[in-house]
Amino acid sequence: MKRTMEQETGSKGIFLSIDWITILLYVILIVWGWFSVCGACYDFNNPDLFSWETNSGKQIVWGGSSLVLAAVLMLIEKRFYDTAAYVIYGALMLLLMVTIVIAPDTKGSRSWLPITSSVKIQPAEFAKFAVALALGKLMDKYGFNIKKPKDIGIAIALIIFPMLLIIAQKETGSALVYFAFFLMLYREGMTGSLLFCGFACVVYFVVGMKFSQDYIANMPVSIGEFSVLMLAMIFTIGMVWTYCHNRFAVRLMAAVCFGATLLAMLFSLFVIPFDVCYVMLGACILMILYIIGLAIYTRLYKYALIALFAIVSCSLFYMSSTLFAHLADHQRTRIEVLLGMKDDPRGAGYNVNQAKIAIGSGGLTGKGFLNGTQTKLKYVPEQHTDFIFCTVGEEEGFVGSAGVLIVYLFFIWRLIIVAERQPDTMGRVYGYCVLCIFLFHLFINVGMVLGLTPVIGIPLPFFSYGGSSLWGFTLLLFIFLRMDAERNLKRQ
């Protein structure tokens, strides 16, 4: 009798504890997404938006079934995930492996499993929640310490393994999403310098590639090479300053590196023009040798790591140029177009160019529902899936598209708040996994439509057409909301 009472107050408590704000934002996004799909999928031969024959009609079914899925997920207790996290992880890894073998070739990738003749699912969309659960379970374990190389190693392995499987399915875009988990690791205490190193690599690559063919004044000095070496010096010296607090070393290195560079520049400018980069490279090598010396002398492994960073920094530019030269033509063109080195509106830049036209033509308030010509007439390839944001931009204009972004921002902020209020590590880690995935999708998807990030084929959550992604995101979110609803219950 007493137990029943407890259960009742428990379930009532759970109902009261459900985060209705997140659910409201979720419903807003799904409905808004459906209107966009209508515009993107408009078929002149079949203008009935609710017909099963059209994508907009199907999307209603996907949306409705997602709500059912959400309701079911709210019934599954957290205890279940706690128990089954590794089993679920294992099962989905198995599914990913099987998919590589049995999935038919769809546009070059082997990631879609046919369920019936017209319904296909993409296991990669569902693997994310399994990884998030497994990470939560792992990090909730008593004694887990992210600073311990073994512990962080396991965590990273849990992330890398599905990535490799998905890359093997030739779905590189979906695999890249798993980088989002590193942001969660950062929240959990992973050192920020790793994130900084990743950021530095991207900066080196972009600056180095984009300006590799531009020259300073009338000297044979490539702006790209010069900037990368300059940044490498600044970053390295900055790291010594931040992590080692060795003022003498910082002053010495700064004097040598910048002094040599300045002198070389003046010589090249007024006496004989020559490639200043050789001098800079020489200075960098001296600097690296000096840091290695410091590492040996002080026996501080920090110096060794900084030296490693400096070596990678200096060599990255040359490695990436070599790599770049060995890329397939279409890949190279794609990178060149992205970096703005090439204008190719008919080839690699076609999608992005047409997407920009679609969005730009929307103006302040857009052309109105179903009045977007760019999207309705299929000028933007993949516009109902990866390029769905074009339809928002064209039909709803600046007001609508900025509105979508702001709703997303609220959504992510709300998830941060909800994640932070979790009583245990599992809930918080899982919550951060969820929000980081949403953030990554938003960043890459909208960025590529706006021509700011590379064209990586990943969907915009709740907007892009498709059952797999919608179910995948619903699954991800509602497991977390159920966990959150249990936050006030004592652990049994």
Binding site: L183, K356, I359, K378, L450
Partner: protein, 615 residues
């Protein structure tokens, strides 16, 4: 178990999200709130303006006889993507083309350098302007040629063998015309010459447009806003010319083998009844696809058949000009009806001699016109230019003279509604000051009194002189279009232009011209049924004299004024007078008498040998 150590990192993650969203909103603002460039690019992508061509107005003569009409022609279109299992041999045989042509044509269509708008999903022009007869054979087999379609267009057809210069022709617009007028797009047709050109806005109508939505592959997906912004084409207006097709046909017959022009005007209205320029050409040569080659051929012909000599040829008017001189001298008080001047086989004064033929002398104005006395008019001009009572100096005298000429429609374009009109030449005082370096006297310029020297007129201006005398003092700008369907001709074509000479003096000149027919130089123009007035002209030039005639009939209430100009035809009486007489008879009686018919036949067969010299 809360992890408080790193809780502040939630702000960094939230900050990252905020920065991303803010960056994207700024980017959106740049794309969406800047200029309309993206909007117009989207419109260019999506809207396909399907032009619907209106039918061009047809052209009739003054009696309602059809001269120009439209005939459907068919363009064969191809949609590359749909072409399959084509029996190329059968296809080529049906169209009457070779396999080689077929292959080349298909290659050209697919070449996006030569055909920038190419899409394998849309209709591309394969073969233009198949006449209806050939098309019917093709149509029977069309169902077998997958991917081939037919587009209807119209081509201009001529129901007459005459009037080539008047009617002009129609062809594709040039790039310059496209640049100058927003109405035209490349590939449109435009009137190039004749009334087709001068009445282009009336004839062409207004193009209609359907605004269609075109998808990324070039396929049409429907009407924009269900056709709310579509426009229907407005058909072109038909024209009624003032030309009498029968008179025109007779004129062209009479001018066969000769160079020159005939212009006939209805004096009361200024309507041009016939306008012949010889040599002419068959307007059928300008029909359809052959136009280009035919044009080239004619442009290289030394006889210049394309030139409309009636309005663009400038000739010395010869003695027909004497009428205008008599009028000027009378009005200026230099002479009266009774003033007589001597003529001893010409004008002789101060070593100057202008020859004349044998006639009684001295003589007054009316017989001087009738016998076309050179001496009389040279003396008249001499006295006018030497008159220091009326004019301060010779410049002022000549300026006065020039003003009279200009008031009669000389020296400037009359403003006929046809392209290519020349203005002719009436010299002014400045001209002679320059030519003679300020030292000239009446004798220097005396030959202008008899329509020689620097004076040149177009045949139209000579005919207009005849019309002015017929009207006894005014003319209406000669025009070729009598009416525009559902509209009016310009008011400027109805105004009376009075000359500086009073009506009473015109009566005298008309009487002189009547005398010329009854007993002077124009005797062969006499007709027992109506009173003809006429004036010959024999214009000297480097070759054989030009034969000219200017006249009108009947003397009272004139119906027709005519100018005939036959290059190197000799005396005015040789060609000018009889041709003019036949034109008058045809128009006034509606037919030629048997005797006149025989005369016409003999003139038709009398050709003048111009040699091979380029004109």
């Amino acid at each position: 178990m809360k992890n408080h150590v790193y809780e502040n990192r939630k702000f960094i993650i939230g900050g990252i999200a905020l920065v991303i969203v803010l960056c994207y909103i700024v980017r959106l603002a740049f794309l969406q709130l800047s200029d309309g460039e993206y909007k117009s690019r989207a419109d260019n992508n999506a809207f396909f303006n399907n032009i619907i061509f209106p039918s061009r107005g047809v052209i009739y003569d003054r009696n309602g006889e059809l001269l120009v009409y439209n005939q459907p022609a068919y363009d064969i279109m191809v949609v590359m993507r749909e072409v399959k299992n084509l029996d190329t041999l059968d296809f080529c045989n049906t169209l009457g083309i070779t396999k080689k042509f077929f292959d080349e044509r298909m290659e050209t269509i697919k070449n996006t350098n030569k055909n920038p708008g190419y899409s394998s999903y849309t209709q591309q022009l394969f073969y233009a302007q198949i006449p209806a007869a050939e098309f019917s054979i093709f149509q029977e087999k069309l169902f077998r040629f997958h991917g081939f379609y037919v587009r209807e267009r119209t081509i201009r057809r001529y129901a007459t063998d005459h009037c080539a210069h008047i009617l002009g022709d129609v062809a594709e617009v040039s790039q310059k015309e496209v640049d100058n007028d927003d109405y035209y797009d490349p590939g449109d047709y435009i009137g190039k010459q004749g009334v087709e050109r001068s009445y282009e806005p009336e004839l062409r109508g207004v193009k209609g447009v359907q605004i269609l939505l075109r998808d990324a592959r070039g396929r049409i997906q429907g009407h924009y806003r269900n056709g709310a912004l579509d426009r229907k084409p407005v058909p072109g207006k038909s024209l009624t010319l003032s030309i009498d097709a029968k008179v025109q046909a007779l004129g062209e017959r009479l001018m066969e083998g000769k160079m020159g022009a005939i212009v006939a005007i209805e004096p009361k209205t200024g309507e041009i009844l016939c306008m012949v320029s010889a040599p002419s050409y068959d307007p059928h040569r300008m029909e359809g696809k052959q136009r280009g080659t035919q044009m080239m051929e004619m442009q290289h012909d030394p006889m210049k058949p394309m030139l409309n000599r009636a309005i663009a040829g400038t000739y010395p008017p010869g003695s027909t000009f004497k009428t205008s001189q008599g009028l000027t001298f009378l009005q200026e008080g230099i002479i009266t009806s009774s003033t007589s001047y001597p003529c001893s086989r010409g004008f002789r004064y101060g070593g100057m001699k202008v020859g004349c033929h044998g006639h009684g002398a001295p003589l007054p104005l009316i017989p001087a016109i009738a016998t076309s006395c050179n001496g009389y008019f040279c003396w008249g001009l001499y006295h006018m230019l030497s008159n220091r009572k009326n004019y301060k100096n010779i410049q002022e005298a000549l300026t006065t003279w020039k003003d009279y000429m200009v008031s009669m429609g000389f020296g400037y374009k009359l403003g006929v509604d046809l392209p290519g009109e020349a203005r002719g030449m009436i010299p002014n005082a400045q001209f002679y000051d320059k030519a003679y370096k300020d030292s000239w006297n009446p004798l220097s310029v005396i030959s202008i009194a008899i329509g020689q020297g620097e004076v040149t007129l177009t045949p139209l201006q000579i005919a207009n002189l005849g019309a002015t005398i017929a009207n006894r003092g005014y003319y209406i700008t000669p025009h070729i279009v009598k009416g525009v369907e559902g509209g009016h001709i310009a008011d400027s074509l109805k105004e009376k232009h009075y000359t500086k000479v009073e009506k009473q003096y015109y009566e005298m000149i008309a009487e002189g011209m009547r005398k010329a027919v009854l007993g002077g130089t124009c005797r062969s123009a006499n007709n027992s049924q109506y009173a003809v007035c006429g004036k010959t002209g024999t214009a000297q030039n480097r070759g054989k004299d030009h034969s000219a005639f200017m006249g009108f009939a009947p003397m009272e209430n004139p119906k027709i004024a005519v100018a005939v100009y036959v290059e190197n035809g000799g005396f005015g009486a040789t060609y000018g007078v009889p041709i003019g007489a036949l034109i008058m008879e045809q128009y006034i009686n509606g037919k030629l008498s048997p005797a006149s018919e025989a005369k016409a036949a003999s003139f038709q067969s009398r050709h003048i040998d111009y040699g091979t010299r380029a004109r």
